[in-house]
Symmetry: C2
Subunit: 180 residues, 2 copies
């Protein structure tokens, strides 16, 4: 079993990861490269990734750049080899946190910014229906609150997050004023 791509389960994993990416707005090649690196225990260079996944060199180059911008893939240097090599996070908490943080930064934060401007602009006008003003404002507040919650919870240590996750809905029992 010299090659990971000869393991049918690994192939299935990589292909599915690619499809998942597509469904969530991540380019398929990028997700596949990530999946391959996640399953690898040794750093791989770009040419190697091309060969395993059957992608063009340029594609892999761009994909690696994208994954590095999410900070879930890292470049490492291999002794006596000029080529860059790459490895992926294997800690899935870290991975999730980095992905969500980056997507927030890229997509959510600008949305909040825009909604804030629209809400402000609507507040200055008296010729727009009240329900329009109100709904834009409520959307702004809602997404803003979610984002603040996220930014806040994100700072907690991983162990605390794991505890909270195990707790699930029972976290409600800890709230002041809840019975038991």
């Amino acid at each position: 079993m010299a090659d990971i791509m000869e393991i049918p389960e690994a192939r299935a994993f990589i292909l599915h990861w690619g499809e998942m990416g597509s469904e969530w707005g991540v380019n398929r090649s990028v997700a596949q490269i990530h999946a391959l690196l996640y399953l690898s225990d040794k750093p791989r260079h770009a040419e190697d990734i091309c060969e395993k996944l059957g992608l063009a060199r340029s594609n892999v180059s761009n994909g690696l750049k994208e994954l590095q911008s999410y900070q879930i893939v890292r470049r490492v240097h291999m002794e006596g080899d000029r080529r860059d090599h790459f490895i992926a996070d294997t800690d899935l908490w870290d991975m999730l946190m980095k992905i969500t943080a980056e997507r927030k930064r890229r997509e959510i934060d600008p949305t909040i910014q825009l909604l804030g401007e629209l809400a402000e602009s609507l507040d200055k006008r008296d010729d727009v229906p009240a329900h329009v003003r109100e709904r834009v404002g409520r959307m702004h507040d809602f997404i803003g609150n979610l984002a603040n919650w996220y930014a806040d919870v994100r700072r907690l240590p991983k162990s605390t997050l794991v505890t909270l996750m195990k707790l699930g809905g029972r976290v409600a029992r800890l709230l002041p004023g809840s019975k038991a």
Copy 2:
């Protein structure tokens, strides 16, 4: 101000919502229709939506079907009008919950299912590298745990969720064994 599309802020909101959809794997027209209905205080019929957004009738028909499958848009009957009319949720918590529930059902649950099968299949083989087996297994457990946590928390009453959100990272202080 007879027409909502004459309010520049409303247009900007709808266009941005469409772009956001694209970035998260939701077709732009679908997201725009949703945004229009969210900003409307009266039910709208399909032809009306076509006209406001400049979309083809078929597109609007499919978009409405999609939004109804998420349960965030509802068909209502208007007295003395044969045409179907549509309204959107205005409660943003409800909306978020319905969207996440549906995406979990469509994309996450099948992924967990597949990962479970792959992990099981790998466990039966002795000719695959241990790290491959381990990493597929860990991914399965991780996503499974997240999904269970979500399903559990989702059942809490909205008011509890709001409380938890306001609490943010301070929720950690309520955990047994934390100081203060």
